[in-house]
Amino acid sequence: MTDTLSEFFTEGEPIADTKAPKVPIDKMWTQRQFDAGLVQPTNRSKSSVIVVGTGLAGGAAAATLGEAGYHVKSFCYQDSPRRAHSIAAQGGINAAKNYKEDGDSTYRLFYDTEKGGDYRSRETNTYRLAEVSANIIDQCVAQGVPFAREYGGLLDNRSFGGVQVSRTFYARGQTGQQLLIGAYQALERQIAAGTVDEYTRHEMLELIIEDGRARGIVARDLVTGELETHVADAVVLASGGYGNVFYLSTNAMGSNVTASWRAHRKGAYMANPCYTQIHPTCIPVAGDYQSKLTLMSESLRNDGRIWVPKRAEHCDKDPREIAEEDRDYYLERKYPSFGNLVPRDIASRQAKVVCDEGRGVGPKVGDFRRGVYLDFASAIERLGEDAIRNKYGNLFDMYMRITGEDPYKVPMRIYPAVHYVMGGLWVDYDLQSSIPGLFVAGEANFSDHGANRLGASALMQGLADGYFVLPNTIRDYLSKGPYPQVDENSPAVAEVKAAVADRTEKLLSINGERTVDSFHKELGHIMWEYCGMERNEEGLLKAIDLIRSLREEFWRNVNVPGSADTLNQSLEKAGRVADFLELGELMCIDALHRSESCGCHFRSESQTEDGEALRDDEDFAYVAAWEFQPDEAGLPGKPVLHKEDLTFEAIELKQRSYK
């Protein structure tokens, strides 16, 4: 195996985070904020920051930096910052408020997050996330976010997969929307105040580096096609996750890796790219025209019971006619203490296992039925249909609209789908990447969730990064300035811009025979098949081969119609797919080298006798941070692996068990 591996990458120097102060973990963040340099109020408007992305992370960061008085430029590819993908989050946001007095605390939230991530996240960052979580709720309530309330007027909570306390704040099934509207309104307020300039329908296509520091971006105005350079003292990427590499996912159509990948190509390390979260409760695929998968909030698992028929010959029967004793409530059977609330990776994999056994339900996709029941019959009997309607009404309506079936009468069908990525650009405690001046926040960075993200914690991370962490750490960076002016017309900047123009020109001139989408679909298929819910060496080697030849074909045979100087959606997609084709290979190499199973990364070679993920702390308790290495043609060569050892001082490394 080691021989095979050396074909794909080389190993470089180890790396470490040097920014977390050497004090006990519960004093660390306070200490870091104190140590961070200050920028005098009258000097702030002279410092400038570019924020790419207007989701929870980027929107919150831009608004807060604007409030502080810095000059901010905010970018998104949609027509309004309010449409960033964070808006789609349904379930809720965690915070260690302990409003329910059920034993929650900062430490417990930290503990659950570490354990949920199978001890593959950095302890110091995760602790800070838990620590600032309570402030997030205060901030959002003050902005007017209409969280669910009890009759007494106080905030309501619910619980989510993988935990045993009620710490999730929610706004029916639209928590992400409500939180994002809060951040968006704060952002619009700063736009009105003149501290933030807004650039909608703008796509970042390249990072500008000068003297080893990130100093700006090249962006394309998606309406006029014009390439623009924007320079600043620091750049923040809050451009979201890259789950769309799988083509079918719960991500928005435009979600992409371009901003991160372009930075990676310029020297930012990409960490743990293979950690992909597969969400257990999505509406199953219906046909090959399908453009995306729709998530059903995991909160449904609080009341819905998951089952499949015990016998394969019952699989095409009306579920209501299958007798109780012929049903297999497999999660309740295998994991009696967590039951239907086991973490996502376990729920997802077990669904695959029963479907692989031939006990899946719904239409056949290939040789198998890919679906399991999520049944509310007993909850409806116990609580009444009205109570269920109150809790989950909009989710049920959505399901009905998409499938044409009534979940109040027939059990829902669900199947896992790609949902979130725990991998992303490597950052230190300050959320600074391996390029000075380039900060990364939200789903685009890697630090907080390890190999598996617990429910309701991505929203928490986005807002923690945006409202509370970045404004303090960027302050330190800016206080070390002033940084010399970057001349937008300097040869170095012009060169970057010309490179973008060339690439665009190249995409438009290939004039091949295949559409961009057909490449994207094929790549997605390869990724799902070989780098999806379960991976093994043989499959990954095959995938790397397939991706390389697909990439070669793309640059020879793609057909991108239209021109560069207008709104051209095919061109936008082509640029994104080109980057996905490079990322996909790195994901497979990362998955290949990590021959342990942990969290969502399940290597079939590494499992216990009863089929659970078998972690290998001896060899793999590290973050894999990859450095880009071009070959002579500038294409991806052999990446360099830098290991960051994970040290656990505040928490004891344990085998994860949900039995």
Partner: protein, 247 residues
């Protein structure tokens, strides 16, 4: 099923547009309306034609990015977003016209894509609560009665799609505006700026070229989130109060 589509094609803001006919065969009833357009676009690209430009992102009915006039109705015949409209709503052989939102405050960019930046500018003019990060009191310091919280939530569900404007014969943006006024006005946190907010938002609305509201009700009928007409009454009440209080 088989369908005839008449789609508005317009190269740019300055060029003239018109309806172009496309025949669609083998449309699956389980497709969403946008997936049906994706299939058509794949065909157009393969045939060397320019695909139809239209906006969408989440395709889950929540981002508000999609929005088409389908046979004269905003988001089509059902009360939902275009991305959540499924082809099972249509019948075999139907002729469907597809046009962009029409309103002078939403200028056309290309084909079915319009510029809704005016909505952002309305929010910018006062659709927020002025609170800086970091100084918020504990969330439980101010209880909010459940009825108020629920009404605020109902109004906050607006996704900013613009269907209300497209459906309104006056191209008025009052439903969108009323939704924001009601959302923030139901909460204790929103009271301090209540009067100033409504005045500046209405001013901005008029400046952007949206029409006045004459109580026709098409907006609420077309709204995929079911924002009720009474948010406009709320808006008017707040506006009267603001005038009375001289801000």
């Amino acid at each position: 099923m088989n369908l005839t589509l008449k789609v508005w094609r317009q190269e740019g803001p300055a060029t003239k547009g018109d309806l172009v006919t496309y025949e669609m065969t083998d449309v699956s009833p389980d497709m969403s309306f946008l997936e049906m357009l994706d299939v058509l676009n794949e065909r157009l690209v393969t045939e060397g034609e320019d695909p139809i430009a239209f906006d969408s992102d989440c395709r889950e009915g929540i981002c508000g990015m999609c929005g088409l006039m389908i046979s004269g109705e905003a988001h089509g015949p059902e009360r939902t977003t275009t991305c959540q409209l499924h082809m099972r709503t249509f019948t075999d052989g139907e002729v469907i016209t597809v046009e962009p939102w029409r309103a002078s405050a939403f200028p056309i960019i290309k084909d079915l894509v319009v510029d809704r930046g005016s909505f952002d500018r309305i929010i910018e003019s006062g659709g927020y609560i002025s609170v800086n990060t970091g100084a918020a009191p504990d969330a439980h310091a101010t209880p909010v009665p459940k009825q108020n919280a629920d009404r605020a939530f109902m109004a906050a569900e607006c996704i900013g799609c613009g269907a209300c404007v497209a459906a309104c014969p006056n191209a008025s943006g009052m439903l969108f505006l009323g939704a924001k006024i009601t959302h923030l006005g139901e909460l204790p946190q929103g009271q301090a700026e209540r009067s100033a907010r409504v005045v500046s938002m209405v001013d901005q609305h008029d400046e952007e070229g949206f029409g006045g509201c004459t109580n026709i009700g098409e907006c609420s009928h077309a709204c995929p989130k079911g924002i009720p007409l009474d948010v406009i009454s709320q808006l008017n009440a707040d506006l009267r109060n603001a005038a009375g209080s001289n801000r």
